[in-house]
Symmetry: C2
């Protein structure tokens, strides 16, 4: 496994990664040798860079030395470098009308990528083999034949794991670096934020006084769900792996409690710990599935809402041979509970509705959006792999 | 096991057990030696009896020779006679103001009774030991000190497994034998009907063209769900055990298909058969749980609604040691499906709303309400036991 050792940057102060403080605060690093780095001011640096370049003339270069990660082999367990090929290619920069050249700067790695690597249909057709890995990206327009974009504009797109892409203007969303750091378009103000917002508000239906339990609570979606839940007046308990993450939950996110699932070795012990922390669960926002969810389900209260947002513990397994867990549907009956599966894409058309509420919170520093950065385009497959090791806190991003 | 052999009555004609035909049609009997009998005209006989008695003078008797089934031991598997004691007692017939003496005529046996026999809380506290088994009853008022009831009135009550009960008027619901056979107060126009109606309409949200799959489709609730689904414009497929029940589903209830789960010995074969019959499932109304539900879940379509109404396959098991089944929450996510547990009691306050729609259908013969009768008060525990053998079609009732 290749790593990119980077000097661990000091955390300047104890303030969380709220927007106004972003240039002063580093993402926490827990593993000294980790290739996951969190240099202070990373986001702000990009943001300032973007502002500096926004008045430059369009780039007239006609060929771009590109790098692309091709998805070439379906994993039968953990995904890694062996399922990808890094290719150096040339991108023809001659633009047709309404096209632009996008230079990626921040590439997203998300758990859903692993789902789409299965051979059989899941919520989408399988990601084809032999093409560039699809992914969300934030980058700069470096050349434009579009009336809507000019060189220097920051945009988000779904252009995948490649340094350069030729995009039609319809594929781009312009970002306003003055409104929020551009990286947030891949996190709190992007797909993960939308997932958290609509999953909680639409399927969770939080009421003040409800006890909200979030699994994967230190993750990209979970950490937002937890904070949105607090703002809805819920008592919020998070489940995460390890004391550092639990400290993040209670001290940085100021949740009402945290359960370290790694500290409890049997399902019964974990269930008892969750019961002690929650006193029973009105809303369970599930990002992980598997044994943690097994431990939670007996603790749900009457008319509980269970939101199935992810099942990261299960993504490595074969879908055709699911593993076994305790049957629990009888308990759903007794409690008249609801389970609902939700996907961000179902709320894509309501993005503005979410942004109208959440963006001001981000701008005024009321929401913590933790980001973990990996540096280097060549790190992308290993960064994806690391999602399933539970090392990152908040949104995992790769700077390229 | 005691049985009460009764002459098998011929089925007079092929018409289903619709209201106007009730005196002419017998409940089907499949097992020649079965203690479950279905004499023709049973319901109508009671109904006519009730009409004949309705003008009699109040019964002035002051002591009633009673029989009561006491629930004395918690079953650790199948329930039967060994968990009950039949006691002959005397009931003091001296009434206080607003009290009546009720003589039970039809006693209900329902799967939920078994749930409440567990020691630990389920959706209610456990049924106490050492008291008369609670159950729904239809009977006659034989003496009254209530201004609301007179001797000869037919009522429904929750007076349990006893021949006579002294009840406060507030515990009784007066029945109109001219509107429907009184037995329907324990079936289509009672708790099972309410379960079916609100489970389907509130949690199932049927749309014309949806494919509705019902497990336990020949049962008290399932057979009504299936018919309500047809009236909502759904394509309805039922799952039941054995060719007779499947014939009932397709010929009597006129469903669009039926799957005999007993004809498929592996989960994969059952799943393939259900897939062939349904082509995918928009609404799954589940009364059984366990391996049948395991076979259905991979077949649900996008935004499917799964209603957990019962899990009769699981009621015998210990709740503290649930058995294992395939994990499936990931599939809920992919399909953005909803699972909802529902209980009849949550809709008790909306009974009138259901009756306003369903009672006219019953009266005009548009709804089949199959009833299976067991004769004899002493048969009650064994009748309850038989529910879990899947022998009855429609509502199982004991005539006492």
């Amino acid at each position: 496994m290749r790593t990119t050792p980077l000097a661990e940057m000091p955390v300047r102060g104890t303030a969380p990664c709220r927007f106004p403080l972003v240039a002063r605060v580093a993402v926490r690093i827990t593993a000294p040798e980790s290739r996951i780095s969190g240099p202070a001011g990373a986001v702000a640096a990009i943001w300032l860079h973007c502002q500096a370049k926004s008045n430059q003339a369009p780039n007239m270069q006609t060929t771009y030395q590109n790098q692309q990660w091709f998805y070439v082999k379906r994993p039968d367990g953990r995904v890694g470098n062996e399922h990808y090929e890094l290719r150096k290619t040339e991108l023809d920069g001659n633009l047709s009308a309404n096209e632009v050249i996008l230079r990626a700067r921040i590439v997203s790695v998300d758990p859903y990528i692993r789902i789409q690597q299965h051979e059989r249909n899941t919520y989408d057709v399988p990601h084809p083999l032999g093409i560039v890995q699809r992914a969300g990206v934030v980058g700069e327009v470096v050349a434009s034949a579009s009336p809507l974009f000019q060189a220097g504009d920051w945009v988000s797109a779904y252009s995948g794991w490649q340094l350069y892409a030729r995009c039609h203007q319809s594929e781009l969303t312009k970002l306003d670096p003055g409104a929020a750091p551009v990286s947030t378009a891949l996190g709190v103000l992007g797909m993960p934020g939308r997932t958290a917002w609509f999953g909680l508000t639409e399927a969770g239906r939080p009421r003040p006084g409800d006890t909200l339990l979030v699994s994967g609570a230190a993750g990209a979606v979970g950490s937002l769900v937890a904070q949105f839940g607090k703002r809805a007046g819920c008592r919020v308990i998070g489940i995460a792996g390890g004391p550092e993450k639990c400290k993040f939950l209670t001290e940085t996110l100021e949740l009402d409690g945290a359960v370290d699932y790694r500290a409890h070795t049997t399902p019964a012990a974990l269930s008892a710990a969750i019961q002690a922390a929650t006193g029973g669960v009105d809303i369970y926002f599930d990002n992980v599935g598997g044994p943690i969810t097994d431990a939670v389900i007996p603790l749900i209260k009457r008319r509980a809402r269970i939101i199935i947002c992810g099942a990261i513990s299960q993504y490595d397994g074969g879908l055709d041979t699911p593993d076994l867990g305790p049957r629990f549907l009888q308990h759903m009956l007794f409690q008249r509970a609801t389970i609902q599966g939700i996907l961000a894409r179902d709320f894509a058309h309501r993005m503005d509705e979410m942004l109208a509420i959440v963006a001001p919170w981000v701008k005024s520093g009321q929401i913590v959006f933790q980001e973990t950065y990996v540096d280097g385009f060549e790190q992308l497959p290993e960064a994806l792999n690391s999602l399933f090791e539970g090392k990152n806190t908040g949104k995992l991003l790769v700077r390229v």
